[in-house]
Amino acid sequence: MDHLPDFPENPFIPKPFVIEEKKRESPSVFSLYLRPIDQLPFYFLPGQFNMLSAIGGGEAAISIASDPTNPHILIHTLRIVGNVTKALSKLDKNDFVLVRGPYGRGWPIDLVKRKTLILVAGGIGLPPLLPLLYIAQKNKGYFKNLILLYGARTKDDLLFMPLLYKLKAEQIITLHVSVDRPSRDWKGQFGTVTALIPSISFDNKETFVFSCGPEIMMRFMARAFIQKNLPKEHIFFSMERNMKCAIGICGHCQLSPFFICKDGPVFPYEKIEHLLTVEEL
């Protein structure tokens, strides 16, 4: 059969990046600051992800946590949860990381221009939202208001707090932080991050919500906003599933008709709401 069109080169071939800096963010979370060895700028859209691996350590899908306006440094923030992230955690400055990407559909940033944007992050769900904070920082006035509701299990699990406090001091974000299990020295809110929602006031027509965190958190979050009459179509989720190929051919990340890797990871809540209530789908 000679009718098949030509396609670009093998999409599975990664590019080596060198670790310029490694930072510990919490007891189980670290960031890698990566520079491509070919020195070519790495462009991406907020909410997209890369496939990352330590040489021989297997690949994992990791969201991009860097500033989209600076394509010369790529930042990934990872929680050590399995073999792949463990292998990556053992690398140090000047070691090489294999990267392919960026993949997926990110946050609909054009839709929220000059609007109020509420970000709801749970735990390691914060890094995929960071590019939006950098946009707000570099491009003042991009959002009318930017509100971050951030929750973590304990105080020690909170990530990027110096950056968040700095953005708050610069009046770039309004920040609400809550921990599930407060320690004695915790002075802030406690309970689930969704409990912060009822006290927030916003203009329904001009407000959008982007959320990343555990699925159960996002579902309760959506419910809480809908109770406050926010239109469903203003709510967006970043979904997590097992991913191997990132290009919609390995089958792992399916959620009914969707491949999370190429149809997502960011979805309008409206599109997936009915799928989230079916167990083990």
Partner: protein
């Protein structure tokens, strides 16, 4: 574009061998059915003598037996445990190798390992499997990215198809609209006709210019009205032997509406979650990537078949998404018959019956689909 299929010719077995020889001379690796370990499998073949001459099969849910026929047919059997996907999408394939120089500051070297294998010629592809190849072409080649390994093999592929004359008891292609007559997607198409004799003769037609070139080189006579009638009889006879069916009217909505149907639990009681159905299925495309250490400083990354029936398949930091067998069987069947349509604009099932035959406990997708339809609380318009 030239139109094919209007000219049909009558040839003998000897000319079929000439076609095989011509393909080999052109540099094709010829792959066809052959008998191995009490089953008909697809392997490299050198001559028609390698084919299952006078061998048929008997299939039922969970059962497969070869049987001797009383004639000398070359294609007197139905779907085999193999499908052609193993040649275009091998069960394991190296994607690249990576070498880390001893000097730690030197970047790793990646060798994409593009192999220049000879082009493949498939001999004896049935209509159901033609459709399966067309479906996998969509999956692997028509997205924003394509699978380079698959593409390199699919691009130069030559297909000699055969009209299916002897469907098995587990076949249901006619209800899926995929057979038994081959309609497109081949370079050459033959119909094996017995005409009451032990030795069959063949009607042949071209489906591409490459096929036409080959026909031009062989001895043949024009097919007569009588030959064409016999060809029609072969197909009609095959259709009569197909008793299983799936009603496809509104099937996507049927399955989307029945994700909570109690039948899933009943199936899960029997399903061993062994993944056989996914490996014999000619359209199942799931895979995983694994890193294999070779020697010091050298790693290979391989793409290997995976199955939605394994617990690890949906592993995330929060655990597996599909822990229960119920959820895994539901995913497989709902994907095959419903969500595939949303994903690729076509059903993922071609009605070849392999999943029924090779299920160790004989779970029958046609039976289960019918039960779900009959007991669906939401009626699907038909």
């Amino acid at each position: 574009m030239a139109r094919f299929g209007s000219n049909k010719f009558k040839i003998t077995k000897r000319e079929l061998q000439s076609i095989l020889d011509a393909l080999k001379r052109k540099g094709f690796k010829t792959i066809g059915p052959t008998v191995s370990k009490d089953a008909i499998v697809y392997e490299e073949i050198d001559s028609l003598n390698d084919l299952p001459i006078g061998i048929g099969d008997e299939q039922e849910a969970g059962s497969y037996r070869l049987k001797k026929r009383t004639d000398a047919t070359l294609f007197g059997f139905a779907s085999s445990p193999h499908s052609w996907k193993q040649f275009l999408f091998p069960a394991q394939e190296k994607i690249f190798s990576i070498h880390q120089p001893t000097e730690k500051t030197s970047p790793p070297l990646i060798d994409p390992s593009v192999r220049q294998d000879p082009p493949l010629a498939f001999i004896g592809v049935r209509s159901c499997d033609l459709q399966a190849i067309a479906i996998q072409n969509r999956v692997f080649l028509e997205g924003p990215y394509s699978h380079a390994g698959y593409k390199s093999k699919a691009k130069g592929l030559f297909i000699l198809a055969v009209n299916c004359a002897y469907p098995s008891a587990t076949c249901f292609c006619s209800s899926m609209g995929t057979g038994p007559r081959a309609k497109s997607g081949f370079d050459l198409l033959v119909t094996e006709i017995l005409n009451g004799q032990k030795e069959p003769f063949y009607l042949i037609e071209a489906g591409s210019s490459q096929g036409e070139e080959i026909i031009a080189q062989i001895e043949k006579t024009d097919a007569t009205e009588e030959d064409l009638k016999k060809e029609k009889d072969v197909i009609q006879n095959a259709e009569k032997q197909i008793h299983r069916r799936i009603e496809t009217q509104g099937i996507k909505e049927l399955f989307y509406n029945n994700l909570q149907h109690p039948r899933w639990e009943e199936i899960a009681q029997r399903c061993l979650s062994c993944a056989n159905c996914t490996f014999v299925c000619p359209t199942c495309f799931c895979s995983t990537l694994i890193d294999i250490p070779k020697k010091a400083q050298e790693i290979e990354r391989w793409m290997v078949w995976d199955s939605c029936f394994t617990l690890n398949f949906t592993h995330t930091p929060a655990g597996s998404v599909r822990k229960s067998v119920l959820s895994r069987y539901r995913q497989w069947m709902t994907h095959k018959l419903a969500s595939w349509i949303d994903q690729f604009g076509i059903s993922g099932c071609v009605g070849c019956g392999r999943c029924i035959t090779w299920c160790p406990v004989g779970i029958d997708i046609t039976e289960e689909a019918e039960i779900i339809r009959k007991t669906s609380p939401v009626k699907t318009p038909s």
